[in-house]
Amino acid sequence: MISSIVFINHKGEILIYRVYKDDITRSETTQFCAKIVATKENKECPIINIDGTSFIHITIKDIVVLATTKVNVNVAMTLQFLYQLVKVCRAYFGGEFDENCIKKHFVLIYEILDEVMDYGVPQIADADLLKKYIQEGGLKPELMNDVEKLKQLTSQATGATSWRPPNLVYRKNEVYLDVIESVNVLMSVKGTILKADVAGSIQVKCLLSGMPECKFGMNDKLLMQREPRKPGQTTTDKGITIDDLKFHQCVKLPKFDKERAITFIPPDGQFELMTYRITENINLPFKIMPVYNELGKNKLEIRVKIKSIFEKNLFATNLAIKIPVPKNTANVNTNSAIGKAKHEPDQQGVIWRIKKYPGDFEALLRCEIDLGSTTNQQPWIKPPISMEFQVPMFTASGLRVRFLRIYEKAGYKPTKWIRYITKAGEYLHRL
């Protein structure tokens, strides 16, 4: 499988070097560092073959996390493992992952590397679980001598519900659900929708005692069709079509496959229960209508109208519309009724920011762009207009959580909270 894992900084210096199989020499890796990382060639492809050695890598900010191998490994698995490794490190370093904290915690990283992979084969790589027996500065001696506790730990780690420790107790049992949707849209110059989808995620914060069994339901069309209709129930909500769902490891997948029911024993604390993808019947929260005019040789005019298409009593927040301008822009005059628009040369665009934007509302921005003279004969390649926003209490897909039932031996009644938010993913309109 994998021969070694290496952390490299942007200059091509090795920060962490852990060998799992001795079919690789250090000089092969330093060659990769000098030739590829230092010349930034690694940005061009995530896998590079040099003389029979494959270098599979990801780049997190300035750090290259590299796996080397000489055999025909599963690349997707290797990449996913590297991502997971970074996730574990972040969990240990309070969310950070940079050169300083790698150098500061290198002893801990070696300990983690020893545990997450053995002989190049990925092993336990769950941060919550690892934290139970790998800690900065070593474990408490009490634990190391308590054989019973250790046995419990190893049986959890290798068991079927490795993500949840037994015997948790909370005085107040609570569950928080966050439904977060990112809308990805690509509109053509003429304003027709080329591509639109919603990438959703349901985040759960779970503060529950014992071993609760949860059952989760949404207005999923396929599930609702299966349910027997109760007498007197209105049939207005037919549910929505979900293209695809991906679940956290705690969800019982065979049960979902058979009954489309989402059941699980949750991990403790925060986790991502599921992600989903929807392409049908998406309610786009905003419409962008740009008009582009060339007024003579050195003058451009771009007018952008945006319209919010959601209920009046809702608000979008933190809007930022980026209107690209040519490199040789000398001056931009902007004019809009709400928000602030400013030319930001480092972004090569005019950024129009609006703090709060009501539903069912239109706004217009007019930009007059003066161009400086340039020697570059190339016509301006117009990048698309992009948009950022958040709309709380709104889901672009129309997804609603219908229930979350929790069964536990103790029979407690937990408090359940939910909120919805829709964000812009890649919200683009070609110019």
Binding site: M77, T154, N283, W417
Partner: protein, 677 residues
Amino acid sequence: MAYFGNNQQRGELQELYADLNDLNFEKKKEAIKKVIAYMTVGKDVSQLFQSVIKCLEFQDIEMKKLIYLYIVNYSRQKPDDAIMVIQNFRKDVRKSENPLVRALAIRTFGCLRVPKLNEYLIEPLKDCVQDDDPYVRKTAVLCVPKVFEVSPELCPALLEQLQKLLEKESNALVLANLIQSMREIEVVNGKQLIVLNPKIIQKLLLAIDECMEWGQIFILDYLATYDPVDSKQAEIIIERTLPRLSHINPTVTFCAVKLILKYLDYLNNGDLVKNLCKKISPSLISLLSWNQPEIQYTILRNISLILQKFPILFENEVKVFFCSFNEPYYIKYEKLDIMVRICDSKNFHQVLNELMIYINEADPHFVRKTIKSIGKIAVMYDKALAEAVSILVEFAKNVQQTNEAVQELFIQMQIIYRKNRNLYKTNDSLKILFSIIDYANEPEAKSACAWIIGEFAEFIPKSVEKMGEYVDNFILEDRLVQLQILTSGVKLYIKYPSLCSALIQQLINSAKDSFNPDVRDRTYIYWRLLSTDPEIVKNLICYVAVGSSQFQKDIRLWETKDLITALENMGSISNLFHKLPNQLYKNIKVRNNNQQEVKIYKADEKQEVPSKEQEIKKDDQIQQQQQQPKQDFDLLNFEEPVSNNNNNNNNNNNNNNNNNNNNNNNNNNKIDVYDLI
């Protein structure tokens, strides 16, 4: 930070040596950390071996791990010193009550990789394989291939033990590691070790539900190499695998897709196959829009394989492959490639519309690929010709300087003209191309230009002058260009004998002294022919191929017979490079697939059972007719996927303001507050 300082002084090793032998425990520990830091940056600290292993007497587990790391790194350089730690390991493995310590010892022990130490390892390892604690077992199981690689002669008993364990092991995680470990040994050994029977298969399938994500991958990956005995068994395994399509780890999903796709061949129920395809497709599409570009890339690299065997999966899904502006270029290249493959006589309009946008991108290489793709589509589908050419002509009009894309434009236009000679009549493409002809500077592009001038001399106003320029610079040109200038020059002479007599003299004079034997030979042939019978030359050289059979549409990547092997290796490095494993790795033997025939799955409503792929014929005769060096498309047949016509246009629905928001009651004003359900 302090550990990584660059101010290495001479006495450093001595200092460390002193600290390691210090009586103060904290000082020792700090010294060990320093040793590891030096090791990381590549400094040789092997001289400290003895001092370091002396520190093993402390029970501090953090320090123990660091020392083990050190030992593993240097054991092969210092095998004699390494013997000294053997007792320590054996004590840990046998005596420690702590499963973590037992596992750590056996894990490290296996990594020493010194043949003479392995004798001491066998007995403790046998114990560990039978340990009560699953955590120790899963570690011990992975230790066996480590030992096997170095000292296979010591292992027969261990291997037997593993086979027994496969029968009786109940812990899913151990089982997954066991499978992976036995596969590693199989690779080294070259012999089959895992013997599957229905009971074990059943057990593995159960284990998939219970073990962690990596374990699921190992098992699915292994089962994908298994050939089910009959349709019934294939169905059972597929059924147990289906739930994995919803796993959050993209590799688990991908391995499940791989297994199911492979097993489809064994099913004899056409409806079931169709249903399965319906389930796989959305799952794959999710992977294609995965938010980690590297993962997306690996999946994209496998799509052409899937597309070749299962065109049905991406029916009407061409939009998935549209490039987004901010994607890394390595993704965009792949998507472009796939868009050409997925393009058919129904969706070409959609594809061309999208490609048109890419022509304006900033990256010259990407634009070049786009031009090439448009050219390919124009040649593949006659219906698409007019539209594709108009895009290319529009591009040509805006060319103001030479760049990569322009070169490709000439190359593609040549191919298009070859196939559709009459194209020059229908638009002004020739005129526009000729106006930018000076921008051609790559050999292939230049030779394309020379061909165009020769072929369409009558329709280009200053063709003879232009050819004169080419002939003037003949000696400086590349071989490819020289050959084409020669042929085109002769063509011009045939067309305008009096006007070109000086030109042909000059051309033959320069060409007969060319350094290149091919050029010389061809020159003499033309020369002799021209001096004996110009009529023959005319028939030979101004021959217009009737029909366009040499432009078959093939964009097939894999040989049909290799499809199954490729499918089994989906996701692996070899597939990523579009090769078979044995082409990339010498030690890998490809299993002989005594498979009936390779099935291709198309969306065709009439046929219940997937149709068989037809024989592929190479048309050798056609190649002879071509005087030109071969272009980069293959001359193979290509069956166009027959698709049913349910173009679900999702867009229309988008403006429907579905008022699903029934739940928006009075809570609306609490914008950032959680709602009670």
